[in-house]
């Protein structure tokens, strides 16, 4: 099975998808760690960005109503995603929502923001669209979980020991 990234011109997505392809074939601890590190790097970048005072709705167009049967999420780089309601049944989307809650709290006055870049949301959307395999879903959930662990660690973010629960596969 070859996973074609959505908007495949991005080297990051290509890298991730190739990596996941390999994981899918033969789940290697090394690859998992590599991928987790990628995610953690993104998480660290994101933290930096969030710490800066945000210019409200800088790149957001005036909020518009979602199409029927859809909900809206934003990426940390303020890209708007219109997703079908049944995506809320996806474990990955649910996990990202939980992570968003831990990161941003539950916003009482605005739209939902997922704690990842547009690229990663596109990637996840692509996977769900193509019908993700159970193993791959598991692998991604592990990455999200490891990214969460890094959020809880002290701010020094010196994650020296990547102990991923690889045994669960």
């Amino acid at each position: 099975m070859v996973l074609l990234p959505v908007g495949g011109d991005s080297p990051l997505i290509l890298y991730l998808s190739l990596d996941l392809y390999n994981i899918n074939k033969m789940i290697s601890a090394k690859k998992l760690i590599k991928l987790a590190q990628k995610w953690q790097k993104l998480a660290a970048l994101r933290r930096k960005r969030i710490a800066l005072p945000r210019t409200e709705k800088s790149s957001r167009s005036k909020s518009e109503m979602a199409d029927k049967g859809h909900f809206v999420v934003y990426s940390t780089d303020q890209k708007r995603f219109l997703l079908p309601l049944n995506y809320l049944n996806s474990e990955i989307v649910r996990e990202l929502l939980k992570l968003a809650e831990e990161e941003f709290g539950l916003p009482s006055n605005g739209p939902l923001t997922l704690p990842c870049d547009a690229e990663l949301i596109e990637y996840v959307v692509g996977l769900i669209k193509q019908g993700i395999t159970r193993d791959l879903e598991k692998a991604i959930l592990v990455f999200i979980a490891s990214s969460r662990c890094s959020l809880f660690s002290d701010l020094h973010h010196q994650v020296t020991d990547h102990q991923l629960p690889i045994c669960s596969f």
């Binding site: 969030i50 710490a51 005072p53 909020s63 518009e64 109503m65 979602a66 029927k68 049967g69 859809h70 909900f71 809206v72 309601l85 809320l88 049944n89 474990e91 649910r94 929502l97 968003a100 809650e101 831990e102 990161e103 941003f104 709290g105 539950l106 916003p107 009482s108 006055n109 605005g110 739209p111 939902l112 959020l151 809880f152 002290d154 701010l155 020094h156």
Partner: protein
């Protein structure tokens, strides 16, 4: 037997939309998907309307309306008791309050032979102590119960007086008619526990004279620069401002800021946030529960001597007047979407029947708008994942009939009424935190 078969067939072919609608015989309320409601009921001082919409996998809001004798004796005093309990970290505390607070209140009313501020204070205290002993008992097996708490809003109408007791961020709002204009004004009755915020803000501003943005008001929440609210998480930030480090701990609206370093002494410990008082949250009140086996992520890193949270309610007494029309009791799930006046206007401008349900609907429409989606789609989202779109919402509208209120309480004879706000109870097998049944929810 044939009729039984017919019933079975009827049940099978019933249209999907009303599959979850049924009358709850215990409370007289109706459940429609994630919405529970009792559009109309009668209490000793007038009418009432109740509605609850569930967003969490397990409903954390609990509520009750009790009317009739407020003591253990038939002789009264008579009146109406309303309770809205907005739990956080789990449903255990709010459920405990729902089962015990009113019983304690009745006991103390009997002892004192009248209703008073003291009776209510004692009932709160007994409930807090009762929950503490429950936590102590369950602690070895279920340590996370130390991190469960609840806001607690109580209203008691008795002998022409209205008592309001509050811990946390639920709110009671009175609708009072202005004779000259015919308008109905909103008057907030419950106290907000944000006095601490002021002192923390001043202190932070004093510490950071060059940084006017150190504490900012955003979405009606005071935030410290660089810190983002979160539930049940602990962040440490290094090198922010002049402080060596600080920690922000928050649990569903309750927040603590710990500042340490050169600027403040190590033992400096401050609390601020909208919920500075609660029942439960034992780990923030008793240092002996801020340790293993409670999960590290719940624990505070800095030891503390004095309780961070208080369980002392703010209690006020109001003499009800002839032009006092109704009181809206609601958890913050409603108030984060509707202003006091908007809520009062909705109640005033529509029939009494279904008032509470109408307020819930208005709040959900507002929540859908904020999430940039349609209300009809919001209603399709299952409980559990629904919490990302709105909070549990409980509303009780108590209408005041001036004739019934002015009448001496001893002459009002009626049977006791007891209504509990409903929700979906899960079968034990489905209690795992991540399982959300697909069939769960239609509002």
């Amino acid at each position: 037997m044939l009729s039984g078969l017919m019933n079975l067939l009827r049940a099978c072919f019933r249209p999907r939309s009303d599959r979850h609608v049924h009358t709850n015989s215990e409370t007289g309320g109706r459940q429609d998907g994630l919405l529970w409601y009792k559009d109309h009921g009668q209490h000793v001082n007038g009418e009432f309307s109740m509605a609850v919409v569930q967003a969490n996998n397990l409903l954390e809001d609990q509520s009750q309306l009790e009317s009739g004798s407020l003591s253990l004796h038939e002789s009264g005093p008579y009146g109406t008791f309303v309770g809205v309990y907005d739990g956080h970290g789990g449903p255990e505390t709010s459920r405990y309050i729902n089962d015990h607070l009113f019983q304690h209140l009745k006991r103390f009313t009997s002892e004192q032979q009248s209703m008073s501020v003291e009776v209510i204070r004692k009932a709160f205290q007994a409930t807090e102590e009762g929950f503490l002993s429950l936590v102590t008992k369950q602690w070895p097996m279920k340590p996370q119960i130390a991190a469960v708490g609840s806001c607690c809003l109580v209203g008691v109408i008795c002998n022409g007086s209205l008592y309001i007791a509050n811990l946390g961020d639920s709110r009671a709002v009175l609708g009072r008619a202005v004779r000259a204009t015919g308008e109905v004004l909103s008057i907030q009755l419950s106290a907000e526990h944000n006095a601490c915020i002021e002192s923390v803000r001043h202190e932070l501003h004093a510490l950071h004279p060059d940084d006017s943005q150190i504490v900012v008001l955003k979405h009606n929440v005071w935030r410290v620069k660089g810190l983002i609210q979160s539930s049940k998480t602990i962040y440490t930030l290094k090198g922010v401002g002049m402080c060596k480090w600080w920690i922000w701990v928050e649990s569903a609206g309750a927040g603590c800021l710990f500042i340490s370093g050169k600027v403040l002494s190590l033992s400096s410990l401050m609390f601020f946030g909208s919920v500075s008082r609660s029942i439960g949250d034992v780990y923030l009140k008793k240092p002996e529960f801020n340790r293993e086996p409670l999960y590290a992520r719940f624990r505070l890193r800095e030891p503390f001597k004095n309780p961070i949270l208080s369980s002392e309610p703010s209690i006020s007494v109001h003499q009800l007047q002839a032009h006092d029309q109704f009181i809206i009791f609601a958890s913050d799930g409603l108030w984060e979407h509707l202003s006091n006046q908007a809520a009062v206007d909705i109640v005033q401008n529509h029939p009494r029947n279904g008032s509470a349900r109408r307020l819930v609907k208005a709040a959900l429409q507002e929540a859908a708008k904020k999430r940039e989606m349609r209300y009809s789609d919001l209603k399709k989202i299952d409980r559990g994942v629904r919490r990302h779109f709105h909070d549990d919402i409980t509303v009780i509208v108590v209408f005041l009939d001036s004739n019934l209120i002015s009448r001496a309480s001893s002459t009002v004879k009626c049977s006791n009424i007891s209504v509990r706000g409903g929700g979906i109870s899960l079968p034990p097998a489905a209690l795992a935190p991540c399982t959300t049944p697909r069939e769960g929810g239609r509002l």
